[in-house]
Symmetry: C2
Subunit: 326 residues, 2 copies
């Protein structure tokens, strides 16, 4: 019996509160990626929905509970995807949603948060400052603070991806999961460890934002002074102790990857799979690229967890290294 | 009672013979597209599967029937997507698959057909010559010829998309469907006309390959001497009479669009929806772009039916019209 904060029966029940548009997402072998990666690769695609990331699985849970309890407002800090998802889930249930984000967040994400009707407040600092500010707003106004990865709904919402992974034959040798605050990794990891314990749970984080990976390796919270990565969705500096405790129970390894590999991963997903991935969503492919012997001949599933990119930056990232002329 | 060659009970039964990886594809509102299009837009996404197009819904039916009948070989002509799908469906059932294609077909499609283990034969001419050659091979070898749009399995396989469209609330005012040989349009159109008769069935074809649209308008088969479009998936010149008869029963209109609109549609799908679409899959967006008054304020569903592109050509098509510099 796994003793994380998550509960598999509750995760199964969570599906009823999540709009079906976010559930039962595509899961398929992508053979066109395989010659370059040297292993069998399955894609779990979380981008073909109204908010282009997996985050709504969690915000649907939160928003339906708030609405059920007669609450009217909620605030969260977000690098952009959680905020979009909460704005979408809150709008459908008549909730006032406030999102606090860094002034340096991905512009496309901020635009979508506003377009979905949420109040957006920007802070002059990074995501950790946004977390502080969101907490202050919640205290001042007496409204619910949604804390990504700390609030178990965000983990159990993400964990419904795990149910979909174990429901489908064939099983995988490893599942590669983007590691940021830890909701996705502890959520999917919990279900895998309970229902498919032979499958490796591999977390992947950028070298430029390694706080949670270092914490996992040292089995204690390690913070960093700054982050330096294009993978904005996973760029935290202050791991949450309770989330680390869960991660220690479910992760088989945590892998750090370079920025160039993340970019190569995005380009491969576009060129060989026809998929737009934001940097965080290419971490799994980056891990395979950097560790070919480790994955050779195995069957690996990777969660393509978001596609919200600034168009100009994305075009630069996926620009061909050799110019093709017709 | 609709008197096409298709049968709704048979279409419902067809789902059992199609690998679930091709069924129940994403269907979602894409609000980020809407400010530029002036109407509500829902995407039915047929690209997140092992062959990156809807065509396997039909080839799964064909291949399972052939395997059930103890047949060992099948041949088809293809612009590339049907061939890939038949190669995938045949490989899983031990069938020898031969695909005949134009030497000028999209290279990425031809590469995937080979990679999936099919025998690929190229002809020095267009898709119509490939059709003739495939028929000759079938006669010579005594193997099953799969004819796209003529063989009712290709239409009824595609029609399972229609079941998924009518199963999901809310309903749409119009569904925009790429029109080539007619399998997709007659398939989806049949189900819509039987189960949601108030929904407009709108077919879209390039001005550079207008044979089926002209035939629909004149209510008789009209052929053309040549085609001139980047939308390789719908570039036929010789409509099939039986398919035209069905199209006359189910289509409310057939719209022709310019190449520049198809390119603009592909770019919008990439920039605002994060979706790679091949030219044929952008026909619906192109139709909205060219007819803003017609669609203003309505709710339109468009089937993004394939994403198989040559990378270099795709990069040219979606290149920004204004160069963004950071």
């Amino acid at each position: 019996m796994l003793t994380t904060r998550l509960d598999t029966a509750r995760i199964q029940a969570a599906r009823r509160f999540i709009d079906p548009v976010f559930l039962d997402t595509p899961l398929y072998r992508c053979e066109a990626l395989e010659p370059d990666l040297g292993c069998a690769v399955s894609i779990k695609l979380e981008t073909a929905n109204p908010v282009r990331s997996f985050k709504a699985r969690g915000t649907e849970l939160v928003a339906s509970r708030l609405a059920g309890d007669g609450r009217h407002a909620v605030v969260c800090a977000s690098a952009g995807n959680l905020g979009q998802a909460l704005a979408w889930s809150g709008r459908g249930r008549g909730l006032d949603v406030t999102v606090v984000a860094s002034r340096h967040a991905t512009v496309a994400k901020l635009d979508r948060i506003r377009a979905l009707g949420a109040t957006l407040e920007l802070v002059d600092g990074d995501h950790e400052l946004a977390r502080d500010r969101a907490a202050a707003i919640a205290r001042q106004r007496g409204v619910r603070l949604l804390e990504d990865s700390l609030d178990v709904e965000t983990c159990e919402g993400a964990a419904t991806i795990g149910l979909e992974l174990v429901d489908t034959a064939p099983s995988f040798d490893s599942v590669l999961i983007a590691l940021g605050g830890g909701a996705l990794a502890t959520g999917v990891g919990h279900v895998l460890k309970e229902q498919a314990p032979t499958v490796e749970v591999l977390c992947v984080q950028p070298l430029g934002a390694p706080a949670m990976t270092r914490s996992w390796r040292q089995r204690r919270v390690v913070t960093t002074e700054s982050t330096n990565t294009i993978a904005d969705g996973v760029a935290g500096r202050r791991p949450i102790p309770a989330v680390l405790d869960d991660l220690l129970l479910v992760a088989d390894d945590a892998i750090l990857v370079q920025e160039t590999s993340i970019i190569a991963g995005m380009r491969m997903l576009l060129d060989h799979a026809g998929l737009v991935a934001e940097p965080s969503a290419a971490l799994g492919i980056a891990a395979i690229l950097e560790n070919p012997e480790r994955f050779a001949g195995r069957h690996v599933a990777t969660i393509v967890c978001g596609s919200n990119v600034d168009v100009a930056a994305y075009r630069r990232w996926v620009r061909p290294t050799h110019v093709h002329r017709p």
